[in-house]
Subunit: 384 residues, 2 copies
């Protein structure tokens, strides 16, 4: 517990809830895109078709018809798994917690990307993990450094977000995925693949999941309905070999017994009625526009010494300020101009990243994006 | 993880789902009493009044209007607290997990009643707790033994279910509550008071919570909507001093970020529309009848050497078989007669209890109760 800290992002979110602020700080989906009517119908349908099931205790593993639906849905996205290889969780965050609970002992090392997802660090910190961080280039984790650090640190597992990474927006190339799986299998390093954004691609070619590349061997795959339907309903899923699922089920029984009976059935109705497939392209189209607006505004307003990697999907753009410019110091100046981002340091498991920052493009309108980036550009230009 | 075990009760529940079995094994509410239409209305109202709030990310502490409603509702039940002293959880089970995560180190001792709630043992086992168990009489924990064991074992905290305990059905008397609080304060022993059943009293006098007796000092109070509304919606709440709430909020951020946005708003609508107050008496009346039917049938069919303590509320009746009769051995014979219970051994943190068993009276109809107890009586009589 001593190692847990308040979620910096959630604290920033409190500040940036002030209506005059244009916030690129959060990781929130665009609320105006929530499929309210379709989801309301699905909830009512679930309550009509199985009222007792919606309100009663249920199995820990997850509602079987939802698992079957998801297996079929995932197979159409190139991921092949069976219901007994799946468990439902309260968003991906709970999967990270249960993985920590089931597999981490104090001082175990987790190999992570540098930068990496803050929520994963928080989840694993609760089990007193340490971190081996490996740099990325625009194609993902650097393989030579990965191998060297596996040999040196003997991490318990690797935690990676290979597609539209949070915070960097980087997507691992197919070649790099194959090399990483080969390396992981050589050193018997289990991989936890977190894929909350993979279904939100607005440009470039689809890459197979690490799970698919490895044919499921040695990879635990996490995803969630948070970004493709709603984060407020707290539903995610884990795919792993049955013996891993059994360990995670034990951990979930101890943690909170079971996933939500009602919302699992509502999401099942939502999916089987075809809403998931109809709605995702609608989200993607909006995010393509917003990312495009942000990237164009960055080209226009940011000093040329500020660098970034244009993402092909997801929710974030990662910026690197030139040497010696602290993103944390500029944050105060940005906030004075009523615009917010997240400083990159919080995403670095072992410190560093002071010149980096994360911009979210999904939770602001194109007009807000244009105006916010203009203001940020002014703040950056004045500091350089 | 090595200390976690499959939930015996949840495994038994799988067996006893066979329709021909009369099951007194589970701890499930009567599904025919679920307030389906009122809750459906509340869900739709929440979606209409705050659609974005229902589907978007939200604060970890819980939806503020629900917390305010709950504080007012609890004050009418004699429990005084403020919103900043409250956090929402995924049922009480998650509160137990978060308490373990925030406060237990390996080999810390938890003082528990003997027998105690199995889910608490499972939650604390994940943090490698050990247990100091103290016997109860019909008035609750034995005070002399409690004091002696506090002095000997120095437990980190006490975990108790003082009202309609699971599994024993025992309710701690007011005198015993006062003595226990005095003892806890003398030795600075924090108390975790788990109260899932306290609002389901069908006879006898209302007892104040330990939290109320102690005026909140040194007591963490847990309760849940599982037994008074629906367990499938996975909503419970913790009341504790603000500094404890802050620690639990950190633990919940790491565990699964936040409680369910949609269901918190639905339960808020359900409560503010008066449904909670209207519905609970309806549940109580049904459970009074079912407990009465079970107790009368036990009087009629059980051998006189089988003993039990008639509960004044809740969901369970605890039975003690005469010497040397194993409840586990009789379980197989009972199952052959298509009737099931839970053997008492699983509720004993440090072993023992082989001659005890738990009967649930809420998830069977009066006719099933009559027939099931008749069959059990035959099994018991033949074994004695």
């Amino acid at each position: 517990m001593a190692r847990m800290q308040h979620s910096t992002i959630r604290e920033i979110l409190k500040i940036t809830k002030r209506p005059e602020i244009i916030s690129f700080a959060g990781g929130l989906p665009a609320p105006e895109l929530f499929p309210l009517e379709a989801f309301r119908e699905s909830l009512n349908q679930a309550l009509s078709e199985d009222s007792t099931g919606c309100l009663q205790y249920d199995v820990t593993e997850g509602y079987p018809p939802l698992k079957e639906f998801l297996c079929a849905w995932l197979s159409r996205h190139g991921l092949s798994c069976k219901p007994e290889e799946m468990m439902l969780t309260n968003g991906s965050q709970q999967a990270l917690d249960l993985i920590g609970k089931a597999f981490l002992n104090p001082n175990d090392r987790v190999l992570v990307e540098n930068p990496t997802y803050l929520g994963a660090i928080q989840a694993f910190n609760a089990y007193e993990a340490r971190y081996t961080s490996v740099l990325m280039d625009a194609s993902g984790l650097l393989m030579a450094e990965t191998e060297q650090k596996i040999r040196k640190d003997h991490p318990k597992f690797a935690y990676v977000v290979p597609t539209f990474q949070n915070p960097s927006g980087i997507t691992m190339t197919l070649e790099r995925r194959k090399a990483f799986i080969k390396l992981a299998q050589k050193y018997k390093l289990p991989i936890v693949e977190d894929d909350p954004y993979g279904y939100l691609r607005f440009s470039g070619d689809i890459q197979p999941s690490l799970y698919s590349v490895a044919k499921g061997r040695g990879v635990v795959y996490l995803s969630t309905f948070s970004k493709i339907l709603s984060p407020g309903i707290r539903l995610g899923f884990v795919i792993a070999p049955p013996e891993i699922i059994r360990a995670l089920v034990l951990a979930k029984q101890a943690a909170d017994l079971q996933p939500n009976s009602l919302l699992q059935r509502a999401v099942y109705c939502y999916g089987k009625n075809g809403h998931l497939d109809r709605h995702i392209p609608f989200i993607i189209e909006s995010y393509r526009q917003r990312a495009g607006t942000m990237l164009a505004a960055m080209d226009r307003y940011f000093p040329s010494s500020v660098r970034w990697i244009p993402p092909e999907g997801g929710m974030f753009i990662w910026c690197m300020l030139p040497n010696k410019i602290s993103a944390a110091k500029l944050f105060k100046k940005a906030l004075a101009q009523n615009v917010a981002y997240v400083t990159g340091r919080v995403f670095h498991a072992n410190g560093g990243g002071d010149q980096t920052l994360r911009l979210n493009f999904t939770n602001s309108t194109p007009d807000q994006i244009e105006e916010g980036i203009k203001r940020l550009g002014k703040v950056f230009s004045e500091a350089l």
